[in-house]
Symmetry: C2
Subunit: 581 residues, 2 copies
C-alpha cells in the first residue's frame, strides 16, 4: 500500500473531551472520529486494526469448532419480552418503534435471538454440541459514554453461544472456549490475564474475564505472583487470618471524638493505626407478601476493618442477604442504634440487629468502633468480653495487596486491567424461559445448557494502546498494527535511487505477505517520523540518498531508542527476522 492511495490524517492536539491516553492517541492518529456522544466512525487506519482483530478472532473461533452466522442489529421486542429482559433492562437498552408502532431494540447482545435460532434448529441430541457466533455492531445507551471507543455506545463485539445436552457437556464447551480465548489473546501480542469472575447464582466457577493489563485500567485484578491464581476484585477471596484472636489487653473506654465520623478521622485523632478500627455498615432485608408489600424488615450490621472496603458481591452471598438487600434508611438506623451514621457500633443497641463480622474483624481484639452516641467512639472493644460473638462471620471485603493467596502460594498482588473478553456458563437461564429444548436419546425434551463468550472487538485497540504507548504515541504489537512496516523514503521526489530502493523494498515485503506501507506523501522527515511514531507502526525503515551511498538503510523498531544501520542488500531478510513470528 502506498500512503498516497490511503488516508492519513494526524492531529497535533487531542480533543478536549479525551480523558484517557487511548482516546487521545486514537483521535490524534486519525484512527477514530467522533460523530456524537459515544458514537465513532472508524477511519481507515483504525478500521485496519479492527479488521485484524476480527480476523484473529474468526480464525481461532473457527478452529475451535464454532460456526459463524450473522444476527440482526434491530431485533423485535417480543424475544426480549419472552426472557423478561425487555422489562428488566434499564435505559441502556435502546428501544425503537417502527412505522407500525411495533417495539424493537437495537441489540446490545444476542442471547434471545440465538436461543430462538437454536430452539428451531437444534432438535436432537445428535445435533449437540453446537456453538454459534457472530461479529456484529451493538448499541448500549450508556448513561455517560466516555473514554472514546473504550466505553462507547455503538461498538462491535464478537459474541458466541454454546448449546449442550447437559452441564458436563456445557462445561466441556466452556473449556474449549476458554482455551480458544487464550489462543486469541496470545496472538494479539498483548499482556493479559484470564481472571476468575463472579458468575452470579448459576454456574459455580465457570466465569472468566480476559483482562488486558494496563495501569489505567478500570478493573482491579488480583493475582498470585508465585502461583496461577487470578481473579477480579469482585471474586477474589480474602482468606481468614491464620493467626488466632489475641486475648483482650485493654479496657473498654468511651472516648469523645467530636466531629470525627470516619475511621480515618478517628484513628488520626486517637493516634492509633487505622487497622485497629472497625467500621459499621447497616443493611436491611425486606419480607414481602404476595401483593408485593413489605410486611417485615430486618436490620443487619456488617463490621469491616477500618482500612478495608466492602465487596457487595460477597455480601450478597451471605445467608439471609442472598435474596437481595438494601442499605438501611436513616430512620431505621436511628430506631435501632439511637443515633445517626458516623458513630455506630455493635454495643448498646436499641433494638436487636443481625451482626455479620468480616473474617478479619472476627479475630481482632482491642478494637475501636462507634459508641452509638454522636461525637463518641469506644476503644478497647473485645469479642466475648464486651459483646457476644457475631451472628455470622464471612468474607465481606475486597482483598488488598499482601493478603494471602487462596491457592496457598504466597501473597496476593493487584494490578489494573481492562476487560475485553468474558467466557460465561449460562446454564438454562435463556433456554428455559424460551423453551429451547432438544430431544434426548429417550425422546424426552430437555432444556439446552448454554454458555456465552464475548470479545469487545472495538474496545481492544483502546486497551492495546493503554498498555502500549509512550510520550510520542502508540506502539502496536505486530499482529494488530494498522501496518506492520512503514517505509519512509527521504527526498523520494528528488532522488530516483531513493524512489527505486523504496519501491523495491515495498514490493518485496508485499510479495512476502508483509503488511507494508510506503509513505510517498512527500512530507519532510521530521513530520513524517512524528506521524509514524504517533500512529505506532512497529517497524520503520528509512531510506535516504546519503545512506544509499554507503549501501545502507536505517531500521528502527518503535520500541528501539535508536536506528540500526542495515546493509541495503540484506534489509529484506533483516526485517523478516525482526517481525513477530
Amino acid at each position: 500500500m502506498k500512503a498516497s492511495q490511503f488516508f492519513i490524517s494526524t492531529l497535533k492536539e487531542a480533543p478536549a473531551d479525551a480523558e484517557v491516553v487511548s482516546h487521545q492517541l486514537m483521535t490524534r492518529a486519525g484512527m477514530i472520529k467522533k460523530l456524537g456522544a459515544g458514537i465513532y466512525s472508524y477511519m481507515p487506519l483504525g478500521l485496519r486494526v479492527v479488521r485484524k482483530i476480527e480476523a484473529i478472532v474468526r480464525e481461532e473461533m473457527n478452529r475451535a469448532g464454532a460456526v459463524e452466522l450473522l444476527m440482526p442489529v434491530v431485533q423485535p421486542a417480543e424475544f426480549w419480552q419472552e426472557t423478561g429482559r425487555w422489562e428488566a433492562m434499564g435505559p441502556e437498552l435502546m428501544r425503537v418503534k417502527d412505522r407500525h408502532d411495533r417495539d424493537f431494540i437495537i441489540q446490545p447482545t444476542s442471547e434471545e435471538v440465538v436461543t430462538d435460532i437454536a430452539r428451531q434448529e437444534l432438535r436432537s441430541y445428535k445435533q449437540l454440541p453446537k456453538n454459534f457466533y457472530h461479529i456484529q455492531t451493538k448499541f448500549r445507551d450508556e448513561r455517560r459514554p466516555r473514554f472514546g471507543v473504550m466505553r462507547s455506545r455503538e461498538f462491535i463485539m464478537k459474541d458466541a453461544y454454546s448449546f449442550d445436552r447437559d452441564m458436563a457437556a456445557a462445561k466441556a464447551s466452556y473449556q474449549v472456549m476458554a482455551q480458544a480465548y487464550r489462543a486469541i489473546f496470545d496472538r494479539f501480542g498483548l499482556r493479559y490475564r484470564a481472571v476468575a469472575a463472579d458468575s452470579g447464582a448459576i454456574g459455580g466457577d465457570l466465569s472468566e474475564e480476559f483482562q488486558v493489563i494496563a495501569a489505567t485500567g478500570e478493573d482491579a485484578i488480583v493475582y498470585s505472583p508465585d502461583g496461577d491464581y487470578a481473579a477480579n476484585m469482585e471474586k477474589a477471596e480474602a482468606l481468614a487470618p491464620a493467626a488466632p484472636r489475641k486475648p483482650a489487653s485493654a479496657p473498654m473506654t468511651k472516648t469523645p471524638t467530636p466531629g470525627k465520623a470516619t475511621c480515618a478521622e478517628v484513628a488520626e485523632l486517637l493516634q492509633v493505626p487505622l487497622n485497629t478500627t472497625v467500621k459499621s455498615l447497616v443493611l436491611a432485608t425486606d419480607q414481602v407478601n404476595e401483593r408485593g408489600e413489605v410486611v417485615k424488615s430486618q436490620v443487619w450490621l456488617l463490621l469491616l476493618r477500618g482500612d478495608h472496603d466492602m465487596n457487595e458481591i460477597k455480601v450478597g452471598k451471605v445467608p439471609g442477604l442472598d435474596a437481595g438487600f438494601r442499605f438501611a434508611t436513616v430512620a431505621e438506623i436511628v430506631d435501632h442504634f439511637g443515633t445517626k451514621p458516623g458513630y455506630l457500633g455493635p454495643i448498646g443497641l436499641k433494638k436487636p440487629v443481625k451482626i455479620v463480622a468480616d473474617r478479619e474483624v472476627a479475630v481482632m481484639s482491642d478494637w475501636v468502633c462507634g459508641a452509638n452516641e454522636e461525637d463518641f467512639h469506644i476503644t478497647g472493644v473485645n469479642w466475648g468480653r464486651d459483646l457476644p460473638e457475631a451472628d455470622a462471620v464471612a468474607d465481606l471485603r475486597n482483598v488488598v495487596e499482601g493478603d494471602l493467596s487462596p491457592d496457598g502460594k504466597g501473597a496476593l498482588a493487584i494490578e489494573r486491567g481492562i476487560e475485553v473478553g468474558h467466557v460465561f456458563y449460562l446454564g438454562t437461564k435463556y433456554s428455559k424461559p424460551m423453551n429451547a429444548t432438544f430431544l434426548d436419546e429417550t425422546g424426552k425434551p430437555q432444556p439446552m445448557e448454554m454458555g456465552c463468550y464475548g470479545i469487545g472487538i472495538t474496545r481492544l485497540p483502546a486497551a492495546a494502546i493503554e498498555q502500549n504507548h509512550d510520550e510520542r504515541g502508540i506502539i502496536w504489537p505486530d499482529a494488530i498494527a494498522p501496518f506492520t512496516v512503514v517505509i519512509c523514503p527521504i527526498g523520494m521526489d528528488r532522488s530516483a535511487e531513493v524512489k527505486a530502493a523504496a519501491e523495491k523494498l515495498h514490493d518485496e515485503l508485499l510479495g512476502a505477505g508483509v503488511d507494508v506501507l510506503l509513505d510517498d506523501r512527500g512530507e519532510r522527515p521530521g513530520a513524517m517520523f512524528a506521524d509514524w511514531e504517533l500512529i505506532g507502526v512497529p517497524h520503520r525503515v528509512v531510506i535516504s540518498d546519503r545512506g544509499l551511498k554507503e549501501g545502507q538503510l536505517e531500521y528502527q523498531h518503535r520500541r528501539d531508542s535508536a536506528a540500526t544501520k542495515v546493509p541495503a542488500a540484506g534489509v529484506f531478510e533483516f526485517i523478516q527476522g525482526r517481525l513477530a513470528p
Copy 2:
C-alpha cells in the same frame, strides 16, 4: 471444511410468506432465517455468500483507489437536519430517541456523515480527489417488506462517496467507479446490464443502475440488441415517430359508449385498434405565495395513445410541470371538462387547459377520445381540423418493445432486472447545505463535487438466485458460491477406502485454495444429493466403493444433466479444469 464442523439445515417446504423463488430457496437451503418482518439472520451458509460478495467488492474498490472506513449505524439527527432530509424523508427513515430524549436515526445511507467527515478532513485541493466507502448494516423501514432479503428492512450495503474539486474531476471519479462496478459484476459471474438511469435535476447523464437480469425482476430494462444502448424504463427515451402525420380521412363523429370509461373498453366496443385511441390524463400545478398558500392553479391535459403508459419522470421534465405537479381533483376536472373522468378529451372544454401531447399522439390522425360528456366518445378526431395543435409536444410515455432505439441501432427490446448497484453523480447537493468546502489554488473556499456509489450486498444473493436456479434448487456461480466444490462420499462410515479417498481429495483441494466441503454427515445418497442440489454448490464429486473399484469418481456440475466418470488419479486436475478462472 467438513460438514460435521459446519451447520447445514435444509427444509422440504418453503415458508408460506415466501412469494419469490429466491426467498423460497434461501430459506429452504438454510441460508437465511426470518426474525421479524423484513429482518433476517444470515445462517452460516448464507453468510459465506455474503462474505464472498463483500470480498470481491472490497478488492475492486481498493483497486480503484477508494479507501475503506466504517461509519456508524446509529447517527445523530442533527446531520440529517442540516441537509433537510430529517424532515423530507418519510417513515422509512427509522427514528429513535436516546435516554436523554435526543434524536437519532438508524442509517439508511451515509451521505450526511461522510460529508461531515470530508468537511473536517479534506481542506485543500491537494487532498482531492478522495473516495471513501464502507460496508455497513443499514435499515429502511419499508411499508411492506417482502421477497426475503430482496426487499428487507435491515440489509448490508456498500456505499462509496467521491469528493472532487470540480465537475470535470467528479465526472472522472464517476467513470472510475462505473468501471470498477463492471469489474465487480463481471467477477460475480452474473448476467447483468449497466443501464442509464434518471439523475433528477442534477448530473445530466451521470447515473447508471447495475441490474442483474432475471425474468422475475421488478425493473424493466430497455436495451438495443443491435447496439450498446441500455436504460431503465424511467429513463429510456421514446423517439418521435419518423413518419409524418397522415392527413385526416374520417369525419369527427360523437359516438355513444355507455359505461365504457377506458380506452380498451372503447376500442373493443367500437372494434378499432387500441392504438387509434387517445387517453386523457389531467394534472394540475399550483402557484404558491410566500405564506405557502395556493393562490392560483393551472390545469393540464396530457394526451397519450391508449396502449401507452405515462412516465412520471418524463412528465416531470415538461416545462411548466418541472417544478412539481399533482393529479387534478375531480372538482377541477368537472369545472374544466364539464364531466367526470372516463369520458375526457381535448374538444369542447369549459375552461382553457394546457394541452401536452405525447410525441406519438402528435402525429396521429383519425383518433378516438372522450367527448367530455358521460357515456360518449368522439371518433375521427384530427389535429388542426378539429382542434388546434397541442400547446406542447413531449416524450411522456414508457417505451414499449419494438420502439426505435435512441442510438439509431434497430428496435428496443425489454427484459426484467433486479437493481443491485447504482452509481450517481451528486454534485453539490450535500456539500453546499453542509458547507463542505476545500481551499482551491487561490485559497478560495469551493464546495466539493460529490458522487455516490452503492451496491446492495445482501440483495445480491437473492438476485443471483432469481437468475440462476432450477426446479431442484439454487445454481451458484463459482465466485459467490457458499462452497465451490462439495465431496459426497457414499458409505464413508463403512468403507475405509471411500473415507481415505474423500479426505485426500478434500485436503488436496483445500491446499490448492479451493473452497471445498466434505459432506461427512453420513446422510443417505438421495438426501445428500438433494441437499446439495438445493444449496446449489456448483461442483460435486461423488466417491463410492463401486466407483473406486473401477478406479473412478463421479463429477457433476450443477448445470450438467448427468455425472461424468473421472479416473480417480486425475480428479484433482479435472476439477481444477472445471473451476471458473
